[in-house]
Every structure is written in structure tokens, then in C-alpha cells.
């Protein structure tokens, strides 16, 4: 469609697709093919420019579905359980959020719910919305908006922070009681790993499927 667009650069004509503009310093460089394990960095300012598109559509779908399963497990089972003087208590992530809300801190509950749970859910659902029709050879309605939304949601997904906080909480309680990580925590670990894999792929690849 618009792949053959020509731009002249110092007398030489180059297609706009073969050229990359750095978002951090505005320098223009030529797009080159990357080998396995390589990333392109801007030679002017050293910022990351683009990644290798190593995870195909099938791979992305597979990892996304795994992440969904991990998410369900992470929220169905308690993140941590503890025993204190014969009393047993356990909490899932959502129970922690509800406790905050009940104690009157709605704002904190909302923030925790969004960054730890809702943003990852939205991310995964958007990915499915883009990739499943693509796999079936069709285009979902409003898929352009879906990709935009995905780019906007990404920075607000903080699963790894949730995990480290569970570790800190375990240690803090260690003096008082027997705190043990629950199945839900391992679900979050699996979710985090899946997200890491998805993020290591070039995000611009989604536009090829949109």
C-alpha cells in the first residue's frame, strides 16, 4: 500500500520503511537485519531503536495463552498463607485489594488492582484480540485501536513488583508467624516470565498482524 514511499536524503533516494528515526534524539539511521540475540541501538545517543522479530504469530499466541492460564491460577489460589498461634489465614491478591478498600483506602486499592491485575489482563486480552483473528486469516474490527491501547497499557503492568512485595511481606512476617508462599504466587511468577518473553519481541511486529 504505502511501502514504496521514497524520501530523498542528501541526494540519495531511500524508502521510508528502510529508515528508522530515534525517538529519543531524532537521529535517522538505516534499518539493518539483526542476528539472533542482537538489538539495534542508536549510534547517536545509545538508546534502543528496535528489536529482532523472533517470536512469530504462533509463538505469541502460545505464550499469551500460557500467560492467561497462569493469571487464572495466580488469582484462584492464595498468594501467601500464614499460621500464628494456631490461627490460619491466607490471602489471594484480590482479597488483599478488597481489604485495602474495606479499610477506607479506595485510592490505593484501585492502584494496586490496576497495576497488579487489571493492566496485565487488558494486555493479554488485547493480544488475543489482535492475534487470534490474524491466525485465522481475518482482521478484527478496530484492531488499530487495540494496538494503540496495548502500547499505552504496557507501562502500567507491574507483576514483578507484586512478586518482590510478596517476598518482603514474607520476611516481615517471619519474625511473628509462619508465612508460606501459596500456589497463587507461583502463578504470578509464571505470568511474569510469560510477559518477559512477550516484551522481548519487537512491538512493531504487531502492526504486521493488525
Amino acid at each position: 500500500m504505502s511501502r514504496g514511499r521514497s524520501v530523498s536524503m542528501g541526494g540519495k533516494s531511500v524508502t521510508a520503511d528502510k529508515v528508522v528515526v530515534c525517538e529519543y534524539c531524532d537521529a535517522v539511521t538505516r534499518r539493518i537485519a539483526l542476528r539472533r540475540g542482537e538489538r539495534a541501538l542508536c549510534p547517536n545517543c545509545g538508546s534502543p531503536l528496535y528489536r529482532r522479530r523472533w517470536l512469530g504469530l504462533d509463538g505469541t499466541l502460545a505464550v499469551t495463552l500460557t500467560a492467561c492460564v497462569a493469571l487464572v491460577i495466580a488469582n484462584s489460589y492464595p498468594v501467601m498463607t500464614m499460621n500464628f498461634a494456631g490461627q490460619h489465614s491466607s490471602a489471594t491478591f484480590w482479597q488483599a485489594v478488597m481489604t485495602l478498600d474495606r479499610d477506607g483506602f479506595v485510592e490505593v486499592a484501585v492502584v494496586v488492582a490496576v497495576t497488579g491485575l487489571l493492566a496485565p489482563i487488558v494486555q493479554l486480552l488485547l493480544l488475543l484480540y489482535i492475534c487470534v483473528p490474524a491466525r485465522l486469516g481475518r482482521r478484527a474490527a478496530g484492531v488499530v485501536h487495540a494496538v494503540h491501547m496495548l502500547d499505552r497499557v504496557r507501562p502500567w503492568s507491574m507483576v514483578e513488583v507484586v512478586l518482590l512485595s510478596a517476598l518482603v511481606a514474607t520476611v516481615k512476617l517471619a519474625g511473628m508467624a509462619d508465612a508460606v508462599p501459596g500456589v497463587g504466587l507461583f502463578g504470578f511468577v509464571a505470568l511474569m516470565l510469560c510477559m518477559a518473553v512477550l516484551l522481548s519481541n519487537d512491538p512493531e511486529q504487531l502492526w504486521d498482524w493488525a
Binding site: 537521529a27 539495534a40 538508546s47 500464614m82 502500547d151 510478596a166 518482603v168 516481615k172 511473628m176
Partner: protein, 220 residues
């Protein structure tokens, strides 16, 4: 692991900038487009060259974050009540408690993530903003790297908020003990979010713009 690429144009010993070549980067999808176009051909996003009103907006979010930093540190973050005693901990108080319990590495993590990082982010963003506004952007490469570091590290400060949430939910043993989050936690969450948004509003290309303007002698 890094590869460099240089445009093979002998007339341009330095890398050309997009504005010099009549190009623009689509802020929505990253595609290289012609500067004279209004919309990106791939994603139909509006082609703006720089983040709109970047300086004013970044300062606004940054000042708001600084204002919230004060109650975040002075007000108690957490209230712990057992049968024998009850105490309210500020951020620093909680860190001292962790240290005294022997969890030195965790006390350090919480100190770095909850006190050092937000303060450093605010100072660094202010430094970058002032540099751009005074047109003194020496070593723009280091400044750009600083900006990316600030952007990257931002969300780890949410750690403390999550810890309080988890503890409050867990230590619900009725009459034996209770942990409740306090006002300081709300202020603290506000600082983290406000600095994140401030960092997202800043356009690091302004650093290079200021540098280019200086080179052309437009500003002393």
C-alpha cells in the same frame, strides 16, 4: 551485542536529524513518515513532532509529585496493633524496624525503592528540564541515558504500597493482631504515579533540539 549503522552519505559526517531530512516519526506506532503528512499511513495516528507542551506538563506533574513527597514521609504509612502494643510506622520507621530485625538486605531494598528512588527521580527530571530551558545541554548523550534510567526505574517504587496491602490482608487475626495502611501510603502511591507520568511527559528530543540550536548560534 550492539550494532551500529552509519548512513553512507559523505556530505553528512554526523547523523542527520529527522527534521533536516523532512522525516517524522509517528508517535503512535514508530513508523518513519514524511514530515509534511498529517497522519501516519500505517496507523492513522496524528503526526506530531514533539510531545505536546512537554516542558509545561512535565513541570506540572513534577511539582505535584514533590508536594506529595512531604506527607508521604511525615505521615505514618502503616499501623500495627497487637494485644500487647500498637505502633504506627512511617517509611523510615519501617525501614529501621526491618534493619533491627536483621533483614539488612530488605531494609536496604525498601529504603532505595521507597525513599531514595523517588527523590532521585524528581531531582534528575528537574535537572533535565532546567538544562533544556536554559539551553545548556552539555553531553546530551549522558542526559538521554539519564532520562531513560529515570523512566525505567520508576515503577519499582510501587513496592512499598504493595507490601502494605499484602500485610494488611494477611495479618487479620481478629483480636490478636492487625495491620492497617495509613494516610502516608496514599501520599506515597501518589508520588510514584505522579513521577511516572512526569517522566512520560518529558520529550528527550528537546535536549538535542537545544543542543542543535546552540550549535547554530541561536542562543548564547
Amino acid at each position: 551485542m550492539t550494532r551500529t549503522t552509519i548512513l553512507d552519505d559523505p556530505a553528512a559526517p554526523h547523523l542527520p536529524r529527522a527534521t533536516e531530512l523532512g522525516l517524522a516519526r509517528c508517535p503512535e506506532c514508530g513508523r518513519t513518515c514524511r514530515a509534511e503528512d498529517l497522519h501516519c499511513p500505517r496507523c492513522h495516528g496524528l503526526l506530531v513532532r514533539r510531545k505536546p507542551n512537554s516542558l509545561a506538563r512535565t513541570w506540572a506533574w513534577l511539582i505535584a509529585a514533590t508536594v506529595m513527597y512531604i506527607p508521604a514521609n511525615l505521615l505514618p504509612v502503616m499501623h500495627t496493633a497487637t494485644l500487647l502494643s500498637s505502633s504506627s510506622n512511617t517509611l523510615l520507621g519501617g525501614i529501621v524496624l526491618l534493619w533491627n530485625e536483621g533483614a539488612y538486605d530488605l531494609a536496604l531494598i525498601v529504603f532505595v525503592a521507597s525513599i531514595a528512588v523517588p527523590l532521585t527521580k524528581i531531582i534528575c527530571l528537574a535537572f533535565l528540564l532546567i538544562g533544556v530551558q536554559r539551553h545548556r545541554c552539555g553531553n546530551p548523550r549522558a542526559r538521554t541515558r539519564l532520562y531513560r534510567a529515570v523512566d525505567f526505574v520508576g515503577h519499582w517504587s510501587m513496592l512499598d504500597v504493595f507490601v502494605v496491602a499484602l500485610l494488611a490482608a494477611l495479618v487479620r487475626l481478629g483480636n490478636f493482631a492487625q495491620v492497617r495502611p495509613e494516610a502516608g501510603a496514599v501520599a506515597f502511591a501518589a508520588v510514584v504515579i505522579l513521577t511516572m507520568i512526569a517522566s512520560m511527559s518529558f520529550d528527550s528530543r528537546l535536549i538535542w533540539d537545544a543542543r542543535a540550536q546552540r550549535g547554530r548560534g541561536e542562543h548564547p
